[in-house]
Symmetry: none
Subunit: 194 residues, 4 copies
């Protein structure tokens, strides 16, 4: 990458980083482009060289951060050492929850957007290797495929919704206290579908 290319990349990163902080602390509505560029230390016109408007930046930010989150879970959870799909799923979920616990701003930012759909898309689109990690997954046209989709959809939505309240507000209990219940519930749901 040339010096010029690096400089460009650095400006864009700086804008996204700054925007993330402002979006999470004040909300996207209350954040102005003026604030972003001022904090990022670039001129106003520069913003428009990289983004259409702040909503465009926001979407790029969501995709970027979600991918990081999920890729980290797939890379570091150690799921591949486990035997059953359920066990694999549980460690992946745990890894994500602990990432979010460490980074509550990210949780607040991604909230309501870690859906079954996004999870699926990220795996499928970007990470060729991961699709194969779960064994015995029925193909897209298999009669059991729909079943699996509903199962994963239910689990992911449940995890996503409960983690928000539990991590950010410790309501009704803290994440540590909640985890055993969550695991039991996930196993119970998995059992429902088999």
């Amino acid at each position: 990458m040339s010096r010029v290319e690096e400089n460009k990349q650095q400006k864009q990163n700086s804008l996204m980083e700054t925007a993330f902080q402002l979006f999470t602390s004040k909300g996207i509505t209350n954040t102005t482009i003026s604030e972003i560029v001022e904090m990022a230390g670039v001129a106003k016109g520069t913003f428009y060289l990289y983004f259409k408007d702040k909503y465009d930046l926001n979407e790029k930010l969501i995709i970027h951060r979600s991918q990081q989150l999920i890729r980290h879970a797939l890379d570091f959870s150690g799921y591949e050492k486990l035997d059953t799909n359920t066990d694999k799923l549980l460690v992946i979920v745990d890894d994500i929850l602990f990432q979010l616990k460490e980074n509550p701003l990210l949780l607040r930012f991604l909230n309501k957007r870690i859906s079954w759909e996004m999870f699926y898309k990220v795996i499928e689109k970007n990470e060729e290797g991961y699709a194969a990690v779960f064994e015995n997954i029925p193909g897209p046209n298999d009669a059991n495929r729909k079943n699996l989709e509903i199962e994963l959809f239910t689990i992911i939505e449940m995890v996503s919704a409960t983690s928000y309240s539990v991590i950010l507000n410790s309501d009704p209990v803290s994440l540590e206290e909640y985890l055993p219940y969550l695991h039991r519930c996930i196993r119970a749901i998995v059992a429902c579908f088999h």
Copy 2:
């Protein structure tokens, strides 16, 4: 209620009704107070007699609509004819889901805000009769009370999160197709806690 009083109430209702339509169709950010008052047929100044700003109106709207939703379920689901708490819970959930199915705008509007907390608050605060409907509920200081809270929290978050995708986008399946699975999952979760 005097003529004047009635007129006031009518103006406020008109503003809230109009705002609901605009908020749900274009989002609160893209809705201007000018639009609200124009559609509601009142003067701009009148808005400020009743609401601090559009966010104030929004919060009043959320509370109002949530209460309606939950009260309807408690009044018309017929839960009192059933025997077990689980059965009662299921018909109440179903009633709410069918209300939301009939009124997807309301679902989109309330989304992410039908939480365990809100549900609990509405019952406890406003509806003295309802508290008694579920039998054998442990008192606030009972050791089993926390358990129950976690159980209900999990179920409500799961229902709230899944219903959004299922009703609004039929993704991954339609509400009709999803309901049997949802019931089974709820029963499975209930079983986890007993």
Copy 3:
């Protein structure tokens, strides 16, 4: 005065009293009619039964308070026991300064409006007895009359301007410290004209 008349008078007084407080503390521009009527405990429409607008009220207030101020000085300074016109003038000035010292809000309110003109008008118009208090005053068409007017004009403007800074800010010195100088200056100016 009938009960009804009294009630009216009381409302008007209440409005003027309240307005005085608000005008002096926040300035007339930043005071709204809504605030005045709310603090005075009357309805908005009532304001317009007594005053055209807040500037109308303000002018009535100035006249009313100026008259009070000057009348008090003429009634209580004891000038009639003194011999020379200069001595009389000095005790009247002192009385006014001590009134203003006791009531800095009034000073701020009347500031820039205690002029030679107003002083003269108040004496001439309202108080038949006072005109005669100063002896040997040349009549309106006397050649020396203009001389006297210029003399009094100079003294009153000087007193009015200096008292503002001295009383409200003790700048450059306090009223107590300044008074001896002021007296000497007044006597010096009087001497200039004779």
Copy 4:
């Protein structure tokens, strides 16, 4: 100064010039920012690049015009050719009075704000050369310094207050008629303090 810099300065000047005309002719309260920018031929947003609001502009205007006024008197009154401090003072006062006579709008605008304090500040802060013009001025800690301050304070307040009425309304006499009296009074006050 670059083209851009010049353009900026010109815009700001245009706004201040226009505002001065409007403030003096209709008063600051009755002048709107819309009017200012329209007359100045700039966009509304441009106003806020240079001023916080119209009161901010007003203060900058007062400082700017006062400095001009006083600097002109010091530069063109020819005080340095005279011998005594009293004579110097008189020609400086005369220069200012004639400037105000030529520019009654400026007089009305600055009225009540040509104080001893402002005069002092302008000389001290901006004009290193002027401080030395008056001979034998006691230093800040000299026992006679306070005396001098009170003397100048009294004179400046008197001149400021009387000139307003005399120049703008010829009341009680015209400036030309008043000047000899004013000079005599100033000399009398100076004498009081020595």
